[in-house]
């Protein structure tokens, strides 16, 4: 190969790695991740979802003003002449842009794709700069809380289908929260920034959140204290509603009252779907993003929270030259494993840009695949048994090489839809062939021998420890019957088979 000479000197100078916060997926991890996608996408289809695919970058203006304080985490593409673009930060804003641009009145769509955030990575906890989201969103004007309830049902189904049972869904309602802020005396223009302080309550103690409100966000201390009383409230949906209804100030607030009415309707639907036991109405949940307007939710597990000594661990963390923490895995939790909410105004922001006026109400959920993956990966025993290839048959030759004959027989198997491999050697050593078959985990071998070959025949053999060195499960057939015989042997080998990936996902 011609390597331009000036390149040679350079070769040793750079590190062979993926960019910070990103990684390669391969081998068993990839099989597990694909199985997670498969489980989620078939569920999305069961709920009437259609899928779309949007570009990985959007015009920079599309993303502007949608993410509040997190906007600084957006990746920009270099200006190389032409439009200014940025990598997508989530799948929600591109979806809203799609709905507005195509003047869609109603759609249930799912989208499984990568998003990009220039955040502090914590690789082993599944907190990455490039990561997958699996989103399901319902756009359209419907009766109150009906799609919202189905989205929560999807959240429960999605996680339980993946063998995750010990999670809790925290629910809150932006209208209730905004009403509380108003009752406590927060000015309208301060609501979003106070809300983003409350959003940190799962990571910080109340004292730190209060300090942020008072010092950084200029709220009077008594306002912060009043907020503190409210946001401690949590319980079942019906309990929390009852508690809030005891409060005259809340009942008299239009926003809070509207929110509570919706929560009461929701409570009924959650019962119809039999998912109330998973749900907690938790007033400390605020969600950072600007665009939510109604119900908001997050699914969390034990692994979601940071260790109690996180602060100490953070101080000891390895820093890179620019003072950034290299990997925050030691002192952060997995975080929420799925989250979402209602955003009735987002499509309207784009519809305006298109000269169309209609706003389309939306509600959606986003599953964090990397975080779910890290939970499933802990089921080590099953994960160990997964094999990365799908190969079912190894086509071998004994004595002579018979390469062209192996090619020809393998081709017949491929044409019949059977996964098959053979050794890429003219002369093939029997031991090497058996080793390769074993490594791939093939249950069946087709063996070409000199005698059989002369008679237009081959041997079909079951592999696996129980058949080694025996003639059990071995049969000699005419080459014209090889496909049928292999199918019979494969059925024999896979008897009773729930496969390993299914076991893993079910947590068996």
């Amino acid at each position: 190969m011609r390597k331009p000479k000036e390149k040679k000197a350079k070769k040793e100078q750079f590190q062979l790695k993926t960019p910070k916060g990103s990684k390669d997926w391969a081998d068993k991890d990839m099989v597990i991740r694909e199985a997670i996608f498969q489980s989620l996408s078939s569920m999305f289809k069961r709920h009437g979802g259609v899928t779309i695919d949007t570009p990985v970058f959007e015009l920079r203006e599309i993303l502007a003003g949608k993410y509040g304080e997190d906007s600084k985490l957006i990746y920009n593409l270099e200006d190389q002449g032409g439009e200014l673009t940025s990598l997508r930060y989530d799948l929600t804003v591109p979806f809203a842009r799609f709905v507005a641009m195509n003047n869609i009145q109603a759609i249930k769509r799912y989208h499984i794709a990568k998003v990009y955030r220039r955040d502090q990575p914590a690789m082993t906890k599944g907190r990455m700069r490039e990561f997958y989201q699996c989103d399901f969103d319902v756009a359209g004007t419907y009766d109150k809380m009906v799609p919202d309830a189905e989205i929560l049902c999807i959240l429960v189904e999605g996680l339980t289908n993946l063998g995750i049972q010990d999670f809790k869904i925290k629910l809150n309602h932006r209208k209730v929260l905004d009403g509380i802020f108003e009752v406590c005396g927060v000015k309208e223009e301060d609501v979003r920034k106070v809300s983003s302080a409350v959003d940190k309550m799962d990571k910080l103690p109340w004292a730190a959140v209060k300090k942020e409100m008072v010092v950084d966000k200029n709220q009077p201390e008594e306002v912060a204290d009043k907020i503190g009383e409210y946001v401690k409230l949590k319980g079942t949906v019906r309990e929390t509603i009852a508690e809030l209804k005891k409060d005259e100030l809340i009942l008299a607030n239009a926003s809070a009252a509207a929110g509570l009415e919706e929560m009461e309707i929701l409570a009924e639907y959650l019962e119809a779907f039999e998912i109330s036991p998973f749900v907690s109405f938790d007033l400390s949940l605020a969600r950072g993003l600007d665009y939510y307007t109604g119900l908001i939710y997050e699914a969390v597990t034990e692994a979601s929270s940071a260790p109690t000594n996180a602060d100490d661990l953070k101080k000891k963390a390895k820093k890179s030259k620019d003072g950034e923490v290299e990997d925050a895995s030691d002192f952060v939790g997995v975080g929420s494993i799925a989250a979402g909410g209602r955003y009735d105004g987002l499509v309207g922001m784009f519809a305006g840009a298109n000269g169309k006026k209609a706003s389309i109400p939306c509600v959606g959920i986003s599953f964090g695949v990397e975080r779910i993956f890290s939970l499933i990966k802990m089921r080590q025993q099953q994960a160990d048994k997964i094999r990365p290839t799908a190969t079912q048959v190894y086509v071998m030759a004994f004595g002579d090489g018979f390469l062209k004959e192996r090619m020809s027989i393998t081709k017949k198997l491929w044409a019949a839809g059977i996964e098959a491999e053979y050794l890429y050697k003219v002369k093939a050593n029997p031991r090497k062939q058996f080793e390769s078959a074993e490594k791939a985990g093939c249950p069946v071998a087709v063996i070409l021998g000199k005698d059989e070959q002369a008679n237009g025949q081959v041997k079909v053999k079951l592999l696996g420890p129980e058949f080694t060195d025996t003639e059990d499960g071995e049969v000699i057939v005419s080459i014209s019957d090889v496909v049928e015989t292999v199918k019979t042997k494969l059925a024999q080998a896979n008897v009773g088979g729930m496969n390993e990936i299914t076991r893993l996902l079910k947590g068996l």
Copy 2:
């Protein structure tokens, strides 16, 4: 929803669109594209492939010096503090980086993912700036031409499985081509640039290619003329070999002779796989990329070439403000629909950077999904019949709203893995429900009526024109039997069913 006031003025100023050369995929197109991925990935698995996923961006140094004249088309990410990165240009270089980084000795991997090129787009021809590649590559040291032959077999299988029969594979060998250049008197340092001129022979007449060699690339006219004689040669593999072997100069050239020996081995294997009729040994094929070292190939169809009056059309094309052509669809062809080659030095370039010395030989194929899609989309009649949702059952209420009861029954169907929807309304109008069921293309309805409900029963009904206004295919069952009854009805509805997407892919 709170919209910050300063955003309002901005709202009307930008166009609601995707960035140039990119598009959204939705609806039937998305269903067709997913089916193409499904067909290709199950074939890749049949051939023993495992899949990997690499980040969408790579360190900029990884991509440097790999793409020859095309390097200018790479998208860079903005320097926002931290590493310099670029969007991947293909899946081959990231694969080679992965193999080197993990010190892998042998792997068959497939990868279906998007790549990025700042090229002139031709949207309706499937030439995009963001587009999918479906790659299969074999890395490892094997007997000569054995994996190469299987890659060509995969190329034929991949296209024929998608109902594409009228394609031709152009083959050439870099060693033969380099030998020819040497014989014609091209200096070693000029070989790659002369090769990239030859690569344009499918788009330009010989006169233009010769001009590029002589004027732009400083080759003596007699050298260009000699090259012109050789690169006109094409025919079956055996014919072209025979033709070249008549030439003493070629036979005496070490590089050309080594290439021809490999082509003779390949000819045998192509016969074993019964794919020779698809293949033409065409000396005008050069492939632009720097990294190829052996066999190279491209699959082309009628639609691959540009119209004969391309030059006139180009002059008339709509230009944007910056003088760039907005969309080149009118005057370019679809181009090659799949292409690849052997690249034995690429992994070694990275292995060096890692302090490891080993080079791993590789050979691979890349299917251009958007281009294949545009061919399949021409089978309009079948494409029209595809429905975007998978919904099988519509759960309705007559007379009363029964929303919670509809939710509860639909939940049972979901739990049984059945795709089901219902109207998101408290009170549901029967006509609206039938319309929604018809729009989704559901074959079966579950109907809740007042009388049946009182008895703990529901109606299960086959939909479709043959059952409208009749009581055929209708049965009243206990709610506890609804799942079993629905399964029976669905089996009845789908009798004899090869589904529409399968028909479309088979071109039936």
